[in-house]
């Protein structure tokens, strides 16, 4: 797998950055050839992980890139922060679990929306979520 074109980096530090990140993600998705409801689905997943940065880690960034593997094209969304990290990832991935006043939908929901989902986190170091979706 390799990335192509410029990586698009959106710094996330307030709620208006969430909107910017998902709009850039939608635009990139359309540019890459995603159609139907996919651009919106990708934008929704970006919205969830970007909001987690604002709510749980204060600041971080979303890095968007086009990817290709053999003959297929896709989009990669990397959300990373140097926030408090997640002690129990399995618990955090449970639908309905929230350490705050959320609905606990963001992480499991984003996983359902995308084709590939990987989360790495270290307490005190930060969290990074990598998600991919392929053009059908």
């Amino acid at each position: 797998m390799s990335t192509f074109n410029e990586e698009l980096c959106v710094p996330i530090k307030s709620d208006s950055d969430i909107v910017e990140a998902r709009q850039k993600g939608r635009a990139l998705a359309i540019q890459l050839g995603f159609s139907g409801s996919d651009p919106t689905v990708i934008a929704a997943a970006i919205s969830e992980v970007a909001r987690n940065i604002v709510n749980h880690a204060t600041r971080g960034e979303i890095v968007l890139s086009g990817i290709h593997e053999s003959s297929r094209l896709g989009i990669q969304v990397l959300a990373r922060d140097e926030g408090p990290g997640i002690a129990d990832i399995e618990q955090a991935m449970q639908y309905g679990y929230s350490s705050g006043k959320g609905m606990g939908v963001g992480l499991p929901g984003a996983k359902w929306l995308m084709d590939e989902f990987d989360i790495k986190s270290q307490v005190g170091k930060g969290t990074s979520v990598t998600m991919r979706k392929w053009v059908r």
Partner: protein, 149 residues
């Protein structure tokens, strides 16, 4: 981005005109709470046609608005959720349980009239076309994507 709220008889109509940040959405909630008290409105329509995404936060906020306004004596209906936005909501496992929904403003008004059993509010704005058939789902999604590009 400020959301204008129009008073229409017993009802309030809030038409979202651009993509909203979390803060904008919370502002809309507070504005609606104020206006419902001020005008003693019986129903509120929130037109979300232009929203690009309704994620967990937006869902939670819209549900909260509807429940709060209910306690203030008003019914809420969310109108105009686009097919691709609805699709993503379903995949996120989100529902607007307990909140009225309608395809568009006209249906929203019909919903409120039925709910508040008054039928008293007359829509004086542009007449939405009743007979125009809805475009197929594919075309609606393509149109929505063009609009938000």
């Amino acid at each position: 981005m400020h959301v204008p709220i129009l008073k229409q008889g017993d009802y309030l109509i809030a038409t979202i005109q651009s993509v909203l940040s979390d803060a904008d959405l919370l502002q809309l909630r507070d504005d609606l709470a104020d206006r419902v008290g001020q005008f003693r409105s019986r129903g509120v329509i929130i037109d979300v046609t232009v929203l690009d995404v309704i994620d967990s936060f937006a869902t939670r906020t819209l549900r909260g608005v509807a429940h709060m306004l209910k306690l203030r004596g008003a019914e809420t209906v969310i109108a105009g959720i686009q097919p691709d936005v609805a699709f993503a909501m379903v995949q996120l496992g989100l529902t607007l349980e307990g909140v009225g929904t309608a395809l568009d403003l006209e249906e929203g008004l019909a919903f409120l009239n039925a709910k508040t059993k008054r039928g008293g509010s007359v829509w004086r704005g542009p007449i939405p076309s009743r007979s125009a058939p809805k475009a197929p789902l594919d075309a609606q999604i393509r149109k929505a994507n063009r609009r938000r590009k």
